[in-house]
């Protein structure tokens, strides 16, 4: 029924099966939308945020999706600026994942600000002394870049591409994609960094406070570094999940291996830098405020010392060592483990830098504040996941997201097609036999 919209040379499931899948995910999406509307109409009293937790699950989710969405800018940088042509096989998907992540981040922020109708205030009445203003500017502009990078993919749909204007527009946008990719990398560097900078400048929160370079605390650079390192791992992870779901090979091995290798070296160097930063903070910065490092880790279920070990060793050095070795990258289960750990690691880092910062007591009358999100917060955090699945499903079905899919999965002609082909060949042979040699 929708075969005219499906890219040439690839096979897709029947429409009813696709509709059933979208319907199932749509139920989750509707649940999230209901919770979102509750937050908008009834207010932030629908959440479990309080005086301790002004930043809560949403801000963690926001920072986490921005970090794992960093695969788009870093893959774009490698593909268009550094000329790594092997990444052509995966760049469209990296852009799509980035688009989903950043639109999700903006959606979460729209819920979190409580009054989305006043969202434009940050641009018009900007507080130019706030790192979050820079984040808002860069985030919005970079979402614009991702939209511009996603549009050519939409224009390559079989039916849209038949319209000459759209065909030329898509072609022209491809031609100057390096300009957009460079702008995207510039914007990403600053907003990823500023999200880390927000934590690092909190001199009233000794768990987060860091020294740094000029106005930028070390967390500024660590956040950008970790996003560039772990973002591509999320791209690989989602690609692998998509391949499992569709039971097809969608991306060439050399693209995955190159991305995994670059990511591995980035994670390794990041983990070393993070270790040095933590060491300096524990031995110099925190003692200079009259505190020891174990003061910041409690025996409660959320913020024990295990979290530091898990973040830096288990989800930092372990995936890094797997990905920097050729044997590790080529081993499929090891690759799965490495990219999964890296994604967990960067998400855990954002959890620590948002939630643990809030939990640590800073006044003599304070206590370790615990927090568990309300169902509305959980539903609105799951909402972007359902939205992402639907976006991927539609994009994969109707757009040429994977340029090498047809080559990697040749479609075998159906028996009826084979019969028709054989009959046509036979007919041609008969006609040729009736002709004189010169005519034949």
């Amino acid at each position: 029924m929708d075969s005219a919209l499906i890219p040439k040379g690839v096979k897709r499931c029947p429409l009813w099966q696709f509709a059933l899948f979208i319907g199932a995910v749509g139920v989750v999406l509707a649940w999230g939308v209901y919770a979102m509307l509750l937050c908008w109409f009834k207010g932030l009293n629908q959440t479990n945020m309080n005086d301790y937790y002004g930043f809560a699950l949403w801000i963690w989710a926001d920072l986490a999706v921005i970090a794992i969405g960093g695969g788009a800018f870093f893959t774009g940088l490698c593909r268009y600026i550094f000329g790594k042509d092997e990444l052509k096989s995966i760049i469209n998907y990296a852009v799509l994942i980035g688009f989903i992540c950043y639109s999700s981040a903006l959606l979460i922020l729209a819920i979190d600000i409580g009054q989305p109708l006043r969202g434009w205030f940050i641009f018009w009445h900007a507080n130019v002394h706030s790192m979050l203003t820079e984040v808002a500017f860069c985030l919005t502009c970079y979402f614009g870049v991702l939209t511009i990078e996603y549009i050519p993919l939409l224009l390559e749909n079989r039916q849209v591409d038949r319209v000459p204007f759209f065909h030329h527009l898509g072609h022209n946008m491809h031609e100057i994609m390096a300009l957009f990719a460079a702008t995207g990398a510039f914007l990403s560097f600053f907003h990823q960094g500023s999200l880390g900078g927000v934590a690092g400048v909190l001199f009233g929160r000794p768990f987060a406070f860091r020294e740094g370079l000029y106005i930028w605390p070390w967390t500024f650079f660590l956040f950008t570094w970790s996003a560039a390192a772990c973002g591509p791992c999320f791209t690989i992870l989602v690609t692998k999940i998509t391949e499992k779901a569709t039971r097809k090979k969608l991306v060439k091995d050399n693209a995955i291996e190159l991305l995994a290798k670059i990511s591995g070296w980035m994670i390794l160097t990041y983990s070393i830098a993070k270790t040095a930063d933590t060491w300096y903070w524990a031995t110099v910065t925190a003692p200079s405020k009259g505190l020891t490092w174990d003061f910041f880790y409690s025996n409660n279920p959320l913020y024990g010392k295990w979290i530091l070990f898990t973040e830096i060793i288990l989800c930092g050095f372990v995936p890094a060592f797997i990905l920097v070795t050729k044997k590790g990258r080529k081993n499929v289960p090891a690759l799965w483990i490495a990219v999964t750990l890296a994604v967990i690691g960067v998400s855990l880092n954002r959890w620590v830098m948002v939630l643990q910062v809030m939990a640590v007591p800073v006044m003599t009358f304070d206590y370790w504040a615990m927090y568990f999100p309300s169902w509305q917060e959980i539903a609105t955090t799951i909402l972007p996941v359902a939205y992402g699945v639907i976006m991927i499903a539609f994009s994969h079905r109707y757009l040429p997201v994977f340029p090498h899919e047809a080559e990697l999965n040749p479609v075998e002609p159906l028996p009826s097609d084979e019969e028709q082909l054989a009959a046509a060949v036979e007919e041609m042979v008969d006609v040729e036999q009736e002709l004189k040699p010169a005519e034949a």
């Binding site: 900007a126 870049v145 072609h171 957009f180």
Partner: protein, 52 residues
């Protein structure tokens, strides 16, 4: 925010922050406008394009 708004102050923070925003938006705007105009010209000329 623009320099003609009452909140505007001519200091480094305003110039850097707002200047950065306008700079990024200008690049994206010019890039996109170029693509659209060129696509319109190519369509009128009936030029045959190909994708990369």
């Amino acid at each position: 925010m623009f320099p003609f708004n009452f909140e505007w102050i001519w200091d480094m923070s305003h110039v850097v922050f707002m200047g950065g925003l306008w700079y990024a938006l200008t690049i994206l705007g010019i890039g996109l406008t170029y693509c659209i105009i060129k696509a319109a010209i190519d369509t009128i000329k009936g030029k045959d394009g190909h994708h990369h």
